[in-house]
Amino acid sequence: MSISIEFNDVSKKFQNTSEYAVDHISFSVTHGELITILGSSGCGKTTLLKMINRLYEPDSGVIRFFGEDISRNDPVEFRRKIGYVIQQVGLFPHMTIEKNIATVPRILKWDKDKIRSRTDELLILVGLDPEEYRKRYPSQLSGGQQQRVGLARALAADPELMLLDEPFGAIDAITRLKLQDELLKIHQASRKTFLFVTHDINEAFKLGSRVLIMDSGKIQQFDTPRNIVTNPANAFVESLIDSVRQQELLWKETTS
């Protein structure tokens, strides 16, 4: 199996701050994994993600994409090979669903028939009927449907890597569970690398083949959910797991 993403001693500090947002981090991801990156806000998880598609540049260290140092590529062209989904979705309100999904294919100048069939295929993949939704505008969709389109748009050019920054963070609990299941299916069918940032520990443990736990810019633990639960690496990870146990206790108490 090849390594799709590799961080080698990567750091990032923002102007006017004394702390590192990302503090000398190293890890690697095997192609085809779904990695969830878990941490509270301000822990550096989004910064880490945005350094991969170069919306941020690291201060030091090297990030490799299939062995290639990403800082050597043209960032704009490089981003077209990576799917990117954010919490606020960021659909283009002035374009139809069809046009939104076709953004990257159109930049890449695919021919019309190919774009058309790809758009339909993707709409079906994310559970939206093409006949009904193709010509709609984002404002005519619910939040959950918009994020489905966001997902389809990111998948359009069949990227080797998907970056998802709290994609379901603003979606109601029931829809979120459904979308999580569908994301798992999409990931399994695609066999691509997915990096999924979240602050929801249940989401992280449910989706991730491995979970990368971050706090104050550092990796606290990077392992499979099972190993993390049985073998928490430090006090921070333990307290994280405890928080879930306490919650579960509450559920049990109230149901019995």
Binding site: F92, T103, I107, Q140
Partner: protein, 216 residues
């Protein structure tokens, strides 16, 4: 009264149409110039917070100056005729266009810009395919305000020799003839309503997505 108005049209149709044409031409030219200046500078002003604040407050203050004052102030600088009239009208039309453009450009959601960049849009694509189309509705509002203001104020341009429908009104004032006042005044009003109607229609055509009902 009706008879007098009919009589005017019977005898002066040519000069009436000339006045209308002049009025439209001066207004059109002024609004076009104002767009060419207001839109780029509106966008430029958003590049930096201080510039934006400065430009917005200066132009907002500028809007308070009565159009007649602007016209008359221009006489010593530019003399009389169509040219100073157009300059004055351009000055009048720039603020609504510029302020709306700047506001529109700033209110393009960050999330939309971020996802556009994240997908690999170049700066040019981001500008032409995202920022400009998303700014258009507000820019259009500015254009409508400017167009109506200019058509109304072009009446005053007669004062400094700019011609147009103001000629009929000022003649009416001079001769104390209500029929001429009515003809001139109503023509300007009809023209303004017509133009704003056309722009509204265009607005609905081009910017269809802003007129959809929101989520079901």
């Amino acid at each position: 009264m009706m008879e007098k108005i009919m009589e005017y049209f019977m005898n002066n149709m040519d000069s009436y149409l000339l006045a209308v044409r002049q009025h439209i031409w001066v207004s059109l030219l002024s609004v076009a110039c104002a767009l060419l200046i207001g839109v780029p500078f509106g966008i430029l002003s958003t590049k930096n917070d201080r510039a934006y604040q400065l430009v917005t407050s200066v132009f907002n203050t500028f809007r308070i100056v009565p159009s007649l004052a602007v016209l008359i102030l221009l006489i010593p600088v530019m003399g009389t005729g169509v040219k100073p009239a157009v300059v004055a009208l351009v000055l009048l039309a720039i603020p609504p266009i510029l302020i709306n453009t700047a506001l529109a450009y700033r209110s393009v959601p960050d999330s939309v810009v971020e996802s556009a960049r994240g997908m690999g849009m170049s700066d040019g694509q981001l500008f032409w395919k995202v920022r400009i189309p998303l700014s258009l509705p507000f820019i259009f509002t500015g254009l409508k305000t400017a167009a109506v203001e200019v058509i109304a104020s072009a009446t005053l341009a007669t004062y400094i020799g700019g011609g147009g429908l103001g000629t009929i009104i000022f003649t009416g004032l001079g001769l104390n003839r209500t029929d001429l006042l009515l003809i001139g005044g109503l023509s300007v009003a009809v023209l303004a309503i017509l133009v704003s109607g056309i722009l509204n229609l265009l607005d609905r055509r081009i910017l269809r997505y802003t007129h959809l009902g929101t989520s079901q």
